[in-house]
């Protein structure tokens, strides 16, 4: 069952750097919320803080009614949160199957769920017993996403899934994200590619200097070139 995610006044310090400076936003249940912003705005830090990989020094993070702040990453994951990091972080010495086994934790792999995943990631079936490290960049991204959704989750945190991928692959990935979205899971998606954001996102949260500076519908932001330029410094047309 999907849950609403809410961040209230979240601060994160990394060493002596004050990265998140009071982040407030919510991601409605069952919807896809785009986290946008310039490089260095704090998007990745925000996802890592939600995931418990960096501790929030102040503020609240709630998934439904369950507080996530203060939990270790393993506990956040067990609260039904799936995470696809920017680096993909697949286990390259393990096979595709072994990567997904780890994603399923104690449960055995569900054949029906796997068939659904293979439906939009057929390469994973083809290379099921191959070392994940030998896959192409796009295929590695498929492993990273499949590992996060191999079991149903309440919340998915996905960090720049299209980074470094060829435009042809990005098109396919959009279809996959839409398919995952149709399951009704709450998704927070960090993306620099505005085309992906426009096609997948329901809501937009724009970050700058460690704060959310804009909240609204993704469609509204996509339709307002002036607002895009103001918030992101670039217009949608430049990112087609």
């Amino acid at each position: 069952m999907s849950e609403r995610l809410a961040l209230k006044g979240v601060h994160t310090h990394i060493g002596r750097y004050h990265i998140l400076q009071g982040v407030d936003f919510d991601a409605p249940a069952g919807k896809t919320t785009m986290l946008l912003g310039r490089n260095g705005a704090g998007k990745t830090t925000c996802l890592r803080t939600i995931m418990g990989l960096w501790r929030a020094s102040r503020g609240e993070i709630l998934l439904g009614a369950k507080p996530l702040h203060g939990l270790a990453a393993s506990e956040v994951a067990r609260a039904s949160v799936g995470y696809v990091p920017e680096t993909m972080a697949i286990f390259s010495d393990l096979t595709v199957k072994e990567n997904l086994i780890l994603g399923a934790r104690e449960k055995p792999l569900d054949d029906i769920r796997l068939a659904w995943i293979f439906g939009f990631f057929p390469a994973l079936k083809k290379f099921w017993l191959s070392r994940a490290g030998s896959l192409s960049g796009g295929q590695k991204q498929m492993v990273a996403i499949a590992r996060a959704i191999v079991e149903p989750r309440s919340l998915l945190l996905i960090d720049e899934p299209t980074k470094g991928l060829a435009p042809a692959i990005v098109g396919g990935l959009i279809e996959c994200l839409l398919e995952i979205k149709r399951t009704g899971v709450t998704i927070v998606l960090v993306e620099q590619n505005f085309r992906v954001a426009r096609e997948v996102g329901d809501f937009a949260r724009v970050m700058d200097n460690g704060r959310v500076i804009h909240e609204g519908d993704m469609a509204e932001l996509a339709a307002d070139a002036e607002l895009q330029t103001h918030l992101l410094g670039l217009s949608l047309e430049a990112h087609q």
Partner: protein, 336 residues
């Protein structure tokens, strides 16, 4: 729904066979200099035994080093403690140990191995919780703390048993040698080789056939992601550290019996070789550690025979050459 293109076929994965062949190449290169077939065979078989002892001591360290990123300079103290625990078993069971009976001798030996594994593994738990856990990610502090821990353990051994050497006699049946043609190999070395091989096979089975092994392999590559998938990495860490300590204890029994005596600082002697093997093999790579241990032992023994003055350089030289050839070790673990 449009399926994401499956993409091109995978590039052919090159089978990395050359690193595994390096011990063989070294042996072939050394043969003309040694000359005598029987001497060469004796040296080579003895090297295998020494290599397996080093592997047993190093294999635990490579996992803690590779997975936990912990520089444990206390590993030598675990080796020494393992040997002392064996002594504590051997002394009261001297009648069985020195009896002319294989079963009784083996019973004492097996008891010593199990006792060392249990005691040193338990010490590993305390060591990790007390000393290592507070300094995760801080290499300089790890070095200082683990060296300090090793000194404390050595001094406790010296206080309990005295600083002098204590004899640790081989069980009666393990003495003497077996002839393979003209080559003579000590029985104990054959036993040590068998134990080292069993440890290697056991580790490969655990790492490749069990869920815990899967987690360890994943943890060596990316601890953070293992945790982000919902696994308690700290529990895994302490388990791996205990296993590493237990293996050091097991290696300590073999090392103590090989030396014929124990003393508190004895763990420091093989520690340099152990670190060299871990680095040569590739951090976290059990297979690399296995090949590296044989390689180091072969070079050590050949150099010791041909030019004893070069023995010290012979320890460092293989590391230098291997790292120039493969900077991440013979069999680097992906993602590191």
């Amino acid at each position: 729904m449009t399926a994401l293109d499956s993409g091109a076929a995978l590039p052919k994965t090159r089978t990395e066979i050359l690193p595994a062949l390096t011990p063989l190449l070294i042996a072939l290169a050394a043969f003309p200099f040694i000359g005598s077939v029987s001497t060469f065979a004796t040296l080579t078989l003895n090297s295998l035994a020494m290599g397996m002892m080093i592997f047993t001591m190093a294999s635990g360290l490579t996992l803690t080093f590779g997975m936990m990123d912990v520089l444990n300079f206390g590993h030598g103290a675990f080796i020494a403690l393992g040997a002392y625990v064996a002594t504590l078993v051997f002394v009261p069971m001297a009648n069985w140990s020195q009896a002319d009976s294989w079963p009784l001798n083996l019973a004492v030996f097996a008891t010593a191995l199990v006792a060392s594994i249990v005691v040193v593994g338990a010490l590993g738990f305390v060591f990790e919780r007390l000393l290592v856990k507070p300094v995760y990610g801080q290499h300089l502090k790890q070095i200082l703390v683990t060296i300090g821990g090793a000194i404390v353990i050595e001094q406790l051994l010296a206080a309990a048993f005295g600083p002098a050497q204590i004899p640790l006699q081989l069980p009666a049946s393990f003495r003497g040698s077996i002839a393979f043609g003209d080559a003579e190999v000590e029985r104990f070395r054959l036993l040590a080789t068998g134990i080292g091989l069993a440890v290697f096979v056991g580790q490969l089975l655990v790492l490749n056939r069990t869920k815990i092994g899967l987690l360890i392999r994943a943890g060596v590559e990316n601890r953070e992601m293992v945790e982000a998938l919902g696994y308690r990495i700290d529990r895994l860490f302490v388990g791996v550290f205990m296993a590493g300590a237990a293996l050091a204890g097991l290696g300590g029994v073999l090392w103590g019996l090989y030396r014929g005596q124990v003393q508190p600082s004895m763990g420091g002697e093989p520690l340099v070789l152990v670190f060299i093997v871990v680095i040569i093999g590739g951090l976290g790579s059990v297979g690399g550690c296995f090949v590296g241990a044989i390689l180091v032992a072969l070079i050590n023994n050949y150099a010791g025979f041909l030019e004893p003055k070069l023995a010290l350089v012979a320890n460092i030289l293989p590391m230098l050459v291997v790292l120039l050839w493969r900077p991440r070790g013979l069999y680097p673990v992906g993602g590191r």
